[in-house]
């Protein structure tokens, strides 16, 4: 009884030391490979900075528009001044014909046109409803939003003013008039990203996506390079023994996890602080979400890596997913409009739930309990991909062992011949 205990103990000890050795070897290989170093360090360090600078102004301000003023009255000029005073638009030209305005639009000198009707003043005087036409293009969602927001705001304010004046004429007191025009007040509360800054929409998603994509591509490059380096193109080296499946998977995972845990301090801690993105989540909450995210990404990467036969394969075959994944996360197109098929595909990739969860925690202040759906999904992915990674690596380990035993039975000369063919 005592005997087995000792063997078990020494086995565990040996297992741990082997795992550590594999982990250190993975570190060595990563640090020796410039291409992988660029992917694992330069990309996560530079991209967040670059994006933050590109989106630095964050919001569209003073969008140039043309106003076609057919009324040319003091009331219409007041309307134009009010429009110009909004932060969203700037009236570039206000005394032109529709044809001229369209021409300016074609040359991209203005991005929208507002037309004030000839009857603007008379409509108001006679108590008729007047219609201001807004021409905007949908080609840029932000431009469209700016023009519509500004013109609706000014029209509502002008309308309220007219209404109150008319009511005052009817003999109401100012307070009565105001309450009639506006029976209740409305308070707009934008949650998360209150200022509506563009960087705050895009950067959190980009940060999470960069982590997953660089991890999977880097693991793929390492695997492809290993196959190119090893004789007979095996993933697991032929000449080394004691490379058990579990030791390989855990050892490699430990190496990547260490690197990415450190990178997260920079990407999810420092970048949001420097550039003022949402940072409502505490360290505990972020850890609860990011730990299963990194683990599932690594296991997914290890699983996929066995199909990459060459160094370039992962870049060639996997990079393109970055753009669809951004859309699958649900931050651009609302999830309520996804078909069941794409909702299912969405669940394959850790980034989808991680992006959603990260935005919820960091920008809306969701607690771990309110993010339980995402965290649970990530742990399920971690479990599933751990099993697939073990299965995939187990197959490779067996293949190598099989090849080794097969070669052992061959005469030396024959092996040399086969190696020569391989080279």
């Amino acid at each position: 009884m005592k005997n087995t205990k000792i063997t078990l103990g020494s086995q565990v000890r040996e297992g741990i030391s082997n795992t550590l050795r594999i982990c250190m070897r993975e570190f060595q290989l990563i640090f020796k490979d410039v291409g992988v170093m660029i992917l694992v360090f330069a990309v996560p360090l530079i991209y967040p900075m670059l994006y933050s600078f590109i989106y630095y102004p964050e919001v569209v301000r003073d969008l140039p528009i043309a106003v076609v003023d057919l009324s040319k009255s003091s009331a219409s000029r007041q309307y134009i001044r009010d429009l110009d005073a909004t932060p969203d638009v700037k009236v570039a030209n206000s005394s032109i014909s529709m044809a001229e305005a369209v021409n300016m639009f074609k040359k991209r000198q203005v991005r929208g046109i507002v037309q004030i009707p000839e009857t603007f003043t008379s409509d108001i005087a006679l108590g008729r409803q007047t219609t201001v036409s807004v021409y905007a293009d949908m080609e840029f969602f932000l431009y469209y939003k700016a023009i519509v927001t500004a013109s609706s705001f000014v029209s509502l304010e002008t309308g309220k003013h007219i209404q109150i004046n008319n009511l005052l004429d009817k003999g109401l007191t100012e307070r009565q008039a105001e309450i009639t025009a506006e029976p209740f007040r409305m308070v707009d509360n934008a949650m998360a990203n209150r200022a509506g800054g563009f960087a705050s929409y895009g950067i959190p998603a980009a940060l999470i996506l960069i982590i997953q994509q660089t991890l999977i591509i880097a693991i793929g490059i390492m695997a492809g390079t290993a196959r190119e380096r090893h004789i007979f193109g095996t993933l697991v080296p032929l000449d080394r023994k004691r490379m058990g499946t579990l030791r390989l998977v855990i050892g490699k995972t430990a190496a990547y996890f260490t690197i990415y845990a450190l990178l997260c301090v920079y990407m999810l801690g420092m970048i949001p602080e420097w550039f003022g993105y949402g940072q409502d989540a505490s360290l505990t909450e972020l850890t609860a979400l990011i730990t299963p995210f990194i683990l599932s990404s690594i296991f997914m990467g290890l699983t996929l890596s066995v199909i990459f036969k060459n160094r370039e394969s992962s870049m060639m075959l996997y990079l393109f997913t970055s753009i669809p994944l951004l859309f699958l996360s649900g931050i651009i197109w609302p999830l309520s409009n996804f078909s069941p098929v794409w909702l299912a595909v969405r669940e394959i990739f850790p980034s989808s739930n991680a992006i959603f969860g990260y935005i919820k925690m960091n920008s809306l202040g969701a607690t771990i309990f309110e993010t339980r759906k995402e965290i649970m999904s990530l742990w399920i992915q971690t479990g599933v991909y751990f099993l697939t990674a073990c299965f995939a690596y187990g197959y490779q380990v067996n293949y190598t062992a099989h090849l080794r035993s097969e070669l052992a039975s061959h005469p030396y000369r024959e092996i040399r011949k086969r190696i020569a063919e391989e080279m």
């Binding site: 108590g127 807004v134 949908m138 209740f184 409305m186 308070v187 563009f198 949402g278 370039e312 409009n337």
Partner: protein
């Protein structure tokens, strides 16, 4: 001349043979681009988001508040999925991601309105998402203004004002929004028309770099040059020609999906569409050649191409307008063919403006075709001397 065409044909045939020898080529050139087209077409086929879930917190529970609650449910954009008891509960639902927004109808709404105390109605929406946040804000404001107008009208009716007069008084200035040159208010269309070319450029860049880089890496470049009579022009033309043809066909398929299936308005002739598609494919092939010529070691040029290709999503300016970016990036953005392609799409194809308004973008696209000439010598010497081969230690 005849011999040149013959060599180009030989090199092209050699390339087609190489393409069919490895699965990777077929995947990157055909399978993945077509899958991407189908993915985006299917994702955006609905056009405008509908039935986004929202909640109502009715703390008043009176006739007016219930009418308000009913009115909130009428717009097609949103759908009331939950009636909640408290603001806290609704906030938690918003944070959990189950709803995109909610309206809080305060206690004593009806009493306050009748007593002219001007109560406050608050609405909350998730603004962490660009499109959903913007749409939600518009939708909730619209709903509440309609409600406010209704109460205003009721009050005036009790004052004995005539109905048509009331209508004009409640909203003296009305805004009617028009789409300038395209009648559909369809965001999906605008996203899909730009995202699909961005996907395609990624594949063009990668495979161009790969197909040349692999000759250097696997030391087959001498054979390649031999087939092309040692002319780099013949070598490149022959090698790239099969890809030009395939990507052009893929791009026309993409146009078919966009303009025929997704019904994007197209105000130009099929000839121009083909011309701009061809130019787009060629421009990106030229940039691919430039990448591998600049860094003949494939591992580095692939990284460069990937960096450049992914950045196109940001710097083409369809998400965030270029004009609002810092000046440095405005210049940098000109270095992306997709940006000029987008101009042509918006001006000539979608809006149907005269050619002169997109002429400059065509010139830019053609300019890219000359970029490879800057590195041709470097590329040729890399092919001849094979001095950019990574040293692989075989164990």
């Amino acid at each position: 001349m005849k011999s040149i065409i013959k060599s180009i044909r030989q090199v092209a045939i050699r390339e087609v043979n190489r393409m069919t020898s490895r699965g990777l080529y077929i995947l990157v050139v055909l399978v993945l681009p077509i899958l991407s087209i189908l993915f985006f077409a299917s994702l955006f086929k609905e056009g405008v988001p509908t039935k986004m879930p929202i909640a109502i917190v009715d703390l008043d529970q009176t006739a007016i508040s219930r009418r308000a609650a009913r009115n909130i449910d009428v717009t097609p954009l949103s759908m009331v999925t939950e009636y909640l008891q408290s603001e806290n509960e609704a906030m938690s639902e918003l944070r959990s991601g189950n709803i995109y927004g909610f309206v809080v109808i305060p206690k004593n709404l009806q009493a306050d309105i009748l007593a002219s105390r001007q109560p406050v109605v608050s609405y909350y929406y998730q603004n962490g998402f660009l499109i959903a946040g913007g749409l939600m804000q518009n939708d909730l404001t619209l709903i509440l203004h309609t409600l406010s107008g209704g109460i205003n009208k009721m009050k005036r009716e009790t004052m004995g004002q005539p109905e048509d007069y009331i209508m004009a008084q409640v909203q003296p200035v009305q805004v009617s929004t028009h789409q300038l040159f395209n009648p559909t208010a369809n965001y999906a269309v605008y996203i899909a028309t730009i995202v699909l070319p961005i996907m395609l450029q990624l594949f063009i860049l990668l495979i161009t770099v790969y197909s040349i880089g692999i000759e250097i890496k696997e030391k087959t470049s001498h054979e390649w040059l031999h087939y092309s009579n040692k002319s780099i022009y013949v070598a490149l033309s022959g090698k790239l020609l099969p890809y030009t043809v395939i990507f052009f066909v893929v791009m026309m398929f993409q146009n078919f999906v966009l303009y025929k299936i997704l019904q994007v308005p197209m105000h130009t002739s099929i000839g121009w569409l083909m011309f701009v598609s061809l130019l787009y494919v060629l421009a990106y092939q030229a940039i691919g050649v430039f990448c591998i010529g600049l860094l003949p070691m494939m591992r580095h040029s692939l990284n460069l191409a990937a960096f450049y290709g992914i950045l196109a999503l940001t710097l083409c300016g369809f998400s965030f307008p270029i004009e609002s970016m810092p000046a440095v990036f405005q210049y940098w953005a000109s270095g992306f063919p997709v940006r000029h392609f987008m101009h042509i799409f918006q001006s000539q194809i979608l809006a149907g403006f005269e050619l002169r308004y997109s002429m400059i973008s065509y010139l830019y696209l053609m300019l890219f075709l000359f970029v490879p000439f800057t590195i041709l010598n470097r590329l040729k010497s890399a092919l001849i001397y094979q001095n950019f081969i990574e040293i692989v230690h075989k164990h």
